[in-house]
């Protein structure tokens, strides 16, 4: 299961709307325990696939190094990644699968249709190595901040 705060959920969907018709991408920071990836922060990243941003994304490893460092400073781990599919279903593609290497992490995809975020789905990359990895559909639980609700 993937747990997101409402703020993170809104951030990743809004990012997809802002970059439309191109794919957005970013990193999810939080903690992983007992089969749950709990996200506390979404960090937007640049898409280096400027040659084909309408249907491809890539996060520069150099940027990932900095985001991982930021996570360490905040006591957070990289627990997943997000990207958008402009005018395309929120379902992993063969490219998404071939390029997925962070076993145990959640890969979140938002379908952005004509500039508006629609479905957001999450897929857990399971397995122990490149040869047996697979994506599993993962339930997404969005938690509203109780403190905000009480105001």
């Amino acid at each position: 299961m993937l747990k997101l705060t409402e703020q993170v959920y809104d951030t990743i969907r809004r990012h997809g709307e802002e970059t439309y018709p191109h794919e957005c991408c970013g990193v999810l920071l939080g903690h992983s325990e007992d089969g749950v990836n709990a996200v506390e922060e979404a960090v937007t990243a640049g898409n280096t696939r400027t040659d084909s941003a309408h249907n491809r994304y890539q996060i520069a490893p150099q940027e990932l190094v900095k985001i991982q460092r930021l996570g360490r400073e905040r006591g957070l781990d990289i627990v997943g990644f997000y990207h958008s599919h402009p005018d395309h279903p929120a379902q992993w593609s063969t490219t998404d699968f071939a390029e997925a290497h962070w076993l145990g992490c959640s890969y979140v995809i938002t379908a952005v249709e004509k500039g508006a975020a629609r479905q957001t789905n999450s897929f857990l990359l399971t397995g122990t190595n490149e040869e047996d990895k697979s994506f599993e559909n993962e339930r997404v639980e969005v938690e509203a901040l109780e403190a905000e609700r009480c105001r």
Binding site: R72, D77, E99
Partner: protein
């Protein structure tokens, strides 16, 4: 020096997110890491002993592939290596569908 381990590989380092090693070069540091945690080796390297194409290794903020001396680059106790598997993908929607 420190070697920062990405979340997928921590299962092979007794859950440590950072491993300390003694080394004078990048190559020695990676050798020391796989000597300490042998199960890591097949996840980092091909059978031919080269870093797997999707495994990026950074010395501080520099990709070791582009350092002049690559794995022979000297390191000291203040340096840190980061192992970063690639992140990429995309819907693959054909360009002809663009409106």
């Amino acid at each position: 020096m420190k070697i920062h381990i990405p979340t997928p590989l921590r299962v092979y380092t007794d859950k440590q997110d950072t491993v300390g090693v003694e080394a004078s070069t990048v190559g020695q540091a990676l050798d020391a890491l796989t000597a300490k945690h042998p199960e890591l080796k097949k996840h980092l390297y091909t059978e031919e002993g080269k870093l797997r194409s999707f495994v990026n290794v950074y010395l501080n903020d520099e990709d070791i592939r582009y350092l002049p001396e690559k794995e022979a680059t000297k390191v000291n106790g203040n340096d840190a290596l980061s192992i970063i598997p690639s992140i990429a993908g995309g819907c693959g929607r054909p360009e002809k569908d663009l409106s």
